[in-house]
């Protein structure tokens, strides 16, 4: 049995209540075994901070991001309008998500289709929970440990959010060893633009190998990131270099969850 307290929007509605914020889990966060751990870590953090949140559960569906970036605007807009109908039905005002792709789509592409929400990436919410003191780092930190951070494209270049995840890591006394390419010059993990769902074109090497090589050059114990897809790709990269014993690939929520009371 899980120790996570999570209610659905439907359960809130049945009680005649509305939660403060919707936690949009996303497809990877719901189905991918590795990503589910990130989802659980973040939900635990929300519990610890006493955030009044709900999920859509079985009413959640794909935002349509991979369809849109693969050129299927029809499918994207069908998904978007259906999701907007569901969310507006529950009077959703705020959304938090651990997926930078969902985040970008909600933030930038849904408003034009009638879905206007305050959208947060989990790094942004965690940063403010730490700042407000609702989450307190206790029980030792990662001081002195070599940790690097990989910027997800749709959080960084796509939306200019480079600082929130770094601030969260800073709260853990992590002195980030930056890769050669970081922030606006960061290199993609290779999953975006629907690449996650297809084989790569003829090539010399996989993009995740290219990016992971750069990450490993910082000689890290942990490669931190803030996106389930980046996590998958870089984990594959670490395996490619046979480093999975020495190097962990972790989401910022996972790094945080062990260290807060």
């Amino acid at each position: 049995m899980s120790d996570i307290q999570v209610k659905t929007m439907a359960e809130f509605a049945a009680e005649g209540k509305e939660p403060e914020i919707l936690f949009w889990v996303g497809c990877a966060g719901s189905f991918d075994d590795r990503a589910k751990k990130i989802t659980r870590a973040f939900a635990k953090l929300l519990n610890k901070a006493g955030v009044d949140f709900a999920v859509l559960g079985t009413e959640e569906s794909c935002t349509g991001d991979p369809a849109k970036r693969a050129g299927n605007e029809f499918l994207f807009q069908m998904q978007a309008m259906t999701n907007i109908e569901v969310m507006n039905g529950y009077n959703v005002k705020k959304i938090v998500t651990t997926c930078p792709h969902c985040y970008n789509t909600f933030k930038n592409e849904y408003p034009d289709l009638g879905g206007k929400y305050q959208v947060y990436h989990h790094s942004e919410l965690l940063q403010s929970l730490l700042e407000e003191g609702k989450l307190k780092v206790e029980g030792g930190s990662y001081e002195g440990m070599n940790i690097t951070y990989h910027d997800p494209c749709y959080l960084g270049r796509g939306n200019g959010q480079y600082e929130a995840p770094r601030e969260v890591l800073k709260q853990l006394e992590i002195d980030i060893k930056e890769m050669k390419h970081h922030k606006e010059n960061s290199v993609c993990c290779g999953a975006g633009g629907a690449q996650m769902f297809k084989e790569a074109e003829p090539q010399k090497e996989e993009i995740f190998v290219f990016r992971t090589r750069e990450a490993l050059e910082t000689n890290p114990k942990v490669i931190a990131t803030a996106c389930a897809f980046c996590n998958t790709m870089i984990t594959d990269g670490v395996k490619f270099f046979n480093k999975e014993q020495e190097v962990k690939v972790l989401d910022i929520a996972e790094l945080l969850v062990d260290k807060v009371k």
């Binding site: 719901s30 991979p66 629907a194 297809k198």
Partner: protein
Amino acid sequence: MIMQYLDNIIFILILGAGVGYFASNIKKAIRNIKLGKPSNRNDRKEERWKNMLLKAFGQQKMFKRPIPALLHLVVYLGFIIINIEVIEIIIDGIFGTHRVLAPLGKFYNFLIGSFEILAILVIVSVTLFWIRRNVLKLLRFQNPEMEGWPKKDANIILYFEFVLMSAFLIMNAADYKLQVLQYGHYFFEQGIVGSFPISHYLYNILPDNPVMLEMIERVAWWFHIVGILAFLNYLYFSKHLHILLAFPNTYYAKLPPLGKIDNLESVKKEVQLMMDPNADPYAAPAEDEGEPERFGAKDIFDLQWVYLLNAYTCTECGRCTDVCPANQTGKKLSPRKIMMDVRDRLEEVGRNIDKNGEFKEDGKSLFDYISKEELWACTTCNACVEECPVENDPMDIIIEMRRYLVMEESAAPPELNMMFTNIENNGAPWQYSQLDRLNWAKED
């Protein structure tokens, strides 16, 4: 009588022809850009002006790589400032005067002196640029799309600049020596006019015969101004067009957030109709609707005009390709090639219109230039857009062409079709049941 003014007349004719031909080509470029679809880039005016000031005028993005940025800045400043001298040349040419601005006195000396220093710096810079391209063979100038004309084009520009600056210095050197020799109209009552911090080094190399010197001075003078006009007219055929178009291009650029991709309005209408429970599925389409709009881009006509402006502005520097994760890992996709292909096709359509009065179907499209393999390799990571010094957007062109492939031709790779089907059937890109969405909360 006519003979007396022959020089002036020839000058005015050359000047008129040079400016006229250039203007007619610019008109063509504007006509070609307008072949694109409407683009809503008239919002956020203040940000747009700021963007232009920083990125075009201030060359902010160039400074991501300091060495070429510095060299480029020298050539750019040289180009702008030395062109003040062209004002004097034009007045002298039309009215048959000589150094008409000389009465400015000390300020004139200062101007001519700084032009000379800039001229020599430009010569040094273009020489270094030439070495980077041809001796050091920087990797990003060696991609397949640079073979042939693009490589030649880049070198021609450098030769032009080298020769123009040299002519300017030789002209000044000969003029200075003629002033010292107090020869003919080169003699000024007030003494030496202008200052020649660089060209005076050529003093001893030049002949002492004033007639020969005058010939050298005249040839260099004519060469300089005719060269400038020739260069001006070369722009239209070259990547060097960016010196003008970088300004409107940065004004109309995609502003942040870069992650946003526009929602297709034509699709929006259809989806809204599909989802409207009150819509009459058998309703006849409105009479004035005309031909349904094409989804995505097959040809340049389907692209927003701003992408066509992007293509004309592209300087082929290859920074986009240099940072493209697909290209860096050996895939065929090169964002620079996408921009160059759009321009090549646009110019082909333009020539078609020149010949036939209007566009005559030629059975070609952008897909004759850009392959599906290139289009499907893009991760939409925005590295190319972030990197481009003139704020081009190769990524949105790729998305537009993917849209055409998917929505008009149903030609997505099979794995992506599978992903679409999964989203349609179970609301996720993978084959998992929507009913299992909350399982994560029960597991540990």
